[in-house]
Each structure stands twice: as C-alpha cells, then as structure tokens.
Symmetry: C2
Subunit: 394 residues, 2 copies
C-alpha cells in the first residue's frame, strides 16, 4: 500500500522516509510523523531565498525537542510566546541572545522570568505592555507590532495584535524615555498568506514609521516581517523564491539603499510540509437512504490535533490506504469528514469538496498531509477521553 511512489509523489509531505517509517513500525493511530530532513531543507531554502533576513522560528508551530534541536543546529533563532517556550529553548542549549519574545501579551512575572534568563528582545503593541517591559526588563530592546491588512491569508490574524501607526510612533519614542532600546517595527500579514504582494503595504507602513521617528531622533534598526509564509495544502502555492522576491522588492521600494536589519518568523513554512498524520477510519456511514454523501469519521478531529480545520480554514490533502488497494486507482465519491468525539463541531470538512474511495471502510487508514505545524500542541488533554496526538520525529 505504501509502495506506490507515483501516488506518493503527488503529495510532497509523504517522503520516502515517512513511507518507510509507517511500513516498518506500523505506529498506533492517530499520530504525527515528521521528517526532519524536510525541516532542514525548508530552512536552507528560506535562508537562500532571503539571505538578509535572520530567521526566528515560531516555536509555537511545533515545539518538539527534535524540531528545536534541528533548527538550533542549522543556526536558527527562536521566537517564543511564553515562559515555557523560553525554558524549552534554553534547556536545549539555545543561547538567550537567539531568543525573541514575540507575544505582545505577557504577564509581568513572565517578562521578569525571560529577562532573568537573558532574553533581551521583547515585542509590544500597547502602552501598558511597554510599561511592564520597562519595569521588568530594564534596557531591553523592544519592537512595536503594528496593525496591517491580512487580506489573502487563510488564517488571518484580525485585530488581536498590533496597534495603529500613530500610536506606534508615540510608543517607540516613549520606549527610549523609559530606558529601553527602540529596535524597530513588527507586523504579520496573516498565517498561510498566499499573496506575495501582501508584504508590500506592510513594509511601506513600516518604512514611514522609520522615517517619521528618524525625524524625531529615534533611529530604528530592525524590521520584523513576521510569519505568514504558506505551507502546501490542497491548493498550489508560489515558490519561496517568489515570496522572497516580493518581500525584497517591497523592501528596496520603500527603504531604498538603506535596508534595515530584517527578521522573519516562519513556523508553518518550516514544519508544516514536513509532517503527515496517520489516522484510522472509525466509521463510514450515511444519514439517510437518499444521501449521496458519506460521512467518514476518523480517529482524529478538531480536538485531538486538527484545530486548524475550524471554519475549514486550512484544507489538508488527504490520501487513503485501503486494504483493497491504492487510493489512486479507486473510484471515489464525496465525503464529509469528522472526528471521533461526541461534539458535533468536531467536523473537519463539510463544505470543502473532499472525495475518498467508495470502497473506504472502518479500519482503513488515511494520511493527512502537511500537518507538521499547529497540530500536536492544539490537542486537548483528553476531550471525550481521547488521548492527545502522539508524534514521531525521524
């Protein structure tokens, strides 16, 4: 079943290493299998495409020890969201100078903790947060996150993070008065951003802030262009080179020859395509005799790993392995995909037009592709008594 390489090649996440691992170990379902070679390749492709940018891996995307170690050895920096993520990176030998604290919502004691551990770069987007940082992290460098458009992103980040440019202007001036180092500006164009032009207006807004502050004697040095680089789900995306070219075109258009230091915070881009979830079909059924669509219930759902199917936002490619033969040759029909819990919001895809083999039956397995990011840590501790998603790093 796993030997059909022509079929596997259609799905970039199904590497030979993962195919062999599944065949040889037959792991219990559901589980995530991540090929660390892909993480390495992605890191190299990104640093090659954007050599001017320092890469800060968004640890929240997948905080597995093996992923952190892999990226540590590649030379990556790390962006963290909580004291636990600070400790995780430090515990794996990452120097605190390679860690930025990108969450703009921090308890004062969490700022203290990070500062005591040597972290010196903190993000903020409000006066209250800036004052907390000044009080608990004296002399630290701060980056102000601004609000930018997220149009074109599959997982847009709304208004939860960032502030208006006028406010950022005042706060960056104030940061210096508070004894902090105003490092620069951050933004985020939205997760799984597929439009290469999305970075342009955000870079423009940032460059305007740089100029306005320069006129006030505040010289910013750094632009953090956030995350957002897409992974490959059901829709094709542009190559990393296309995104990199668009970003650099925006940088030179708006900053000219005096380019600031650049930081990029990829999460999904580095680990999303590196993993697949191996899951079991629990039930295939119809609700009424006249229904054309089958319900396919898997042993994984929104509450044990696939949280990002909320609103069907992220559409993962899914391939089945049936005892009766290859997915590719099998006649297929429409399905609604759902998880195993008694919660009826635990539906993965109802509107998206998924098709699976007509012969699919309970006990068959499926592989859900490009699931290396934002899956394991979203798992509930045990909703309905189902265990959190297990994972294997190879």
């Amino acid at each position: 079943m796993w030997s059909n390489t022509s079929a596997a090649s259609r799905f970039n996440a199904m590497t030979a290493k993962i195919i062999n691992f599944l065949r040889e170990t037959q792991p219990a379902t559901p589980c995530l299998v991540v090929d660390l070679d892909v993480v390495r390749e992605r890191y190299e492709a990104l640093t090659e495409a954007l050599p001017l940018a320092k890469v800060h891996y968004a640890v929240k995307a997948n905080p597995a020890r093996e992923v952190i170690e892999t990226l540590r050895d590649q030379g990556a920096n790390f962006d963290v969201a909580s004291p636990a993520e600070v400790d995780l990176c430090l515990g794996l030998g990452v120097d605190p100078s390679r860690i930025s604290y990108g969450n703009t919502i921090k308890k004062t004691r969490d700022i203290s903790h990070a500062y005591d551990q040597g972290v010196r770069v903190f993000a903020f987007d409000s006066e209250a947060e800036l004052e907390k940082i000044a009080a608990r992290a004296p002399g630290a460098s701060v980056i102000c996150r601004i609000l930018v458009s997220n149009i074109g992103a599959d997982w847009p980040l709304s208004r939860k993070f960032g502030c208006a440019s006028e406010m950022a202007f005042d706060l960056l001036i104030k940061s210096r008065e508070l004894g902090l180092v105003p490092l620069g500006v951050a933004f985020h164009v939205g997760s799984q951003q597929k439009n290469p032009e999305a970075w342009n207006s955000a870079v423009e807004a940032s460059s305007e802030l740089f100029s306005a502050l320069e006129a006030e004697g505040v010289t910013l040095t750094t632009i953090n262009i956030g995350g957002g680089l897409p992974a490959r789900y059901v829709e094709d995306i542009e190559s990393i080179g296309t995104y990199a070219n668009a970003v650099m075109a925006a940088m030179t258009e708006h900053f000219g020859n005096y380019l600031p230091n650049m930081i990029i915070e990829p999460g999904r881009f580095l680990v999303g395509d590196a993993g697949i979830i191996h899951a079991e079909v629990v039930l295939v059924s119809k609700k009424a005799y006249e229904d054309d669509t089958r319900w396919v219930y898997l042993d994984i759902g929104r509450f044990n790993g696939l949280a990002e199917t909320e609103g069907e936002a992220i559409r993962y490619p899914i391939r089945s392995d049936m005892s009766s033969g290859s997915d590719d040759l099998a006649p297929k029909g429409p399905v609604i995909l759902a998880g195993p819990s008694c919660d009826s919001v635990d539906i993965l895809y109802e509107k998206a037009a998924y098709e699976l083999p007509l012969a699919l039956t309970a006990g068959d397995t499926v592989q859900i592709h490009a699931t290396g990011a934002y899956t394991t840590t979203y798992s509930s501790v045990g909703f309905n008594g189902f265990a959190p998603l297990q994972s294997h790093y190879i």
Copy 2:
C-alpha cells in the same frame, strides 16, 4: 473583594464555598473551582423534576474523579464516549450495568473493550456501526439515535449524529436479526437547548418509531431523550421544572398511558453552574487612539479551557475583582475579551457586548461563571507553551 455577597448572589455559580476557597487558598490562575454541593443539588433537582427518567451523566462534560464519585454516590448512571471513560468509571467503582456507551462512532476494538468490561448498552446510528456491535458485543442492547431538529440550542449538534427515521426503523429490525436487543431510540435536541418545546417533535418522532416497530413485532422499551438541558449563562433560562413539565407533556401526548422507560443524559446541566474559572488580566489595551473599546487579555482563552466560546456560542457571565474595589460599584465600558496565545482566533468575545470596569488593569482577577462543564478537558496540552487548565473540586 470576595465578601460582597449581594454581588455574588447575582451569579449563581459563585457559592460561599467557592468565595471562601479563593480567599483562603489564593490559587494560581487560571483555574477552575467546582462546588460539588451544586452538582448534588442539581442531580436532586433533576431526579425530583423527572422521577421517571434514569439519569446517565455525560462524563465528557467533566470527567473529574470527584464529579464521578459525587454522582456515583447519588445513584447516577454514566454515559461514556470512549474506552478511557469506561475505564475511568469502572476504576471508581461504578458497576458496568450503570454505564451506557453513547458515542455512535466506535472502533471495533473499543466496542470489544467495553463489552469485555461488562458494558451492555451501545448507541448506533448506521448499519456499519450496528454490524460492528453485533460482531464485538453479542447479545448487547442497542439504541438507535435519530436525527431531530436542534433549533433553539446554543450549541446545536448538526447532522453529525443520528440517522433518518426510515433508516432507524430498518436498523432496529436488523439489530434483532443480528442477535442484539433493540432497546429503543435516542435523540439529542442540541446542547444548551433553551426552548422547552424542543423535546416535543423529537418525542413524537420516537413514538412513531415505537408504533411502527411494534407492528413488525419489535417492542422497544426505552427512549433516551439525550442531554441539552441548559446551564445558566448570561441569559436567563427557565427552571428545571418547566423543562421537565414540557418533556413529560410531550411523553404523555405521544405515548399516552404506556410510557416507555426514560433515559436522560445531562452533562452541562449537572456541572456547568457548579464551577467558576478564576483568571488573571494580563493586559488591557487599545489599538488606536480613537478606539472606544478596550481589549482585555486574560490568562485563559479558547485553547486552555474556553473552547465553547467558539463563534461566541456560549456566553459566560464574567465578574472582575479589582484591587481598587467591587465590580458592582465601578463604572464600566465595552471590552473585547481575548486569550493569551499568539493565535488570533483566540478571541473570546468580540461581538457580544461585554462590559468591564474602566479601572480594570493587568494583575486584576476575573471570575468566569458557569464554567464547570466542557472546559478542563478541552484544554490543549500546551499550545503556545501555556499549561492545561488546573482544577479544584471542593
């Protein structure tokens, strides 16, 4: 701060026992505190209002040992969704005759496991599931779940569970042919169902199935009217007596004097109002100078306990405790409430018009009321590095 009993009395979940616990132990935030006396009172109120119904507690609502033990001692039965929930109940001394397996989506080995442990009542809603039960649980009793309207429910259960009545008719006949005992019909009118009349059409559809099957020589004995009884969130609800009267009126209207055995599966109703979540304000901020609405970020969000705020479906009452004084006397203004993670879907209430004191600031605490159900087990294992919701049962 906790001593204002007139304020506390407006919130039925803030019992004197919880107020004292918070004052005396000052537990780390965020945490859930459940007053087991309220669980007992709710159980007694329910069995008094619906003396003909056997209560099967929906373990998934809150599977804490203390809750199971409390309800075990009250004489409750238990409805489970997974093998882990079977083992949990058995491990706490619940006899398997008091356990029903209500999830219609079960792996064959999970059916075997429950059957081997002595569980003899299984729900199903499809031919494939019925065949799995017949193969793995020979001679067991089965209840067929049918599709009914969920209009009026805050957390409607869509079409994920249940089948059309015509299919249920055929499957219940087939269950006898497969050597199983066709026990009856189950339905669910939707979680947090506030309309007392919602049960009527579902009872009617059930009674029609009873009659049609009786004509085929298949005598059903049991109707499972599911869960759905509401907890008290921001909106007032009818008393349990009103719901019970509506259910019994529907039963006598459609079944006449020959009432079948009744099962009810409350979860939220028994434990929802018994608990409050004690949380800390991490940040209060504005996004722009012209904004009237403040953003209030708590140390709890959709990924560490408040999953049911998805779509702002469940609106919990929230009360603040400020260092500057009582919530009741404080002038208030509109807020957007959000969680602490870097995920921007981690917003609790943006459209719902919540107001909190204008003086609210980072470090103040809030109590989120009626959070005893569907909170702890929805917590992620550690998204963004934030720990799962801790809980205290008193």
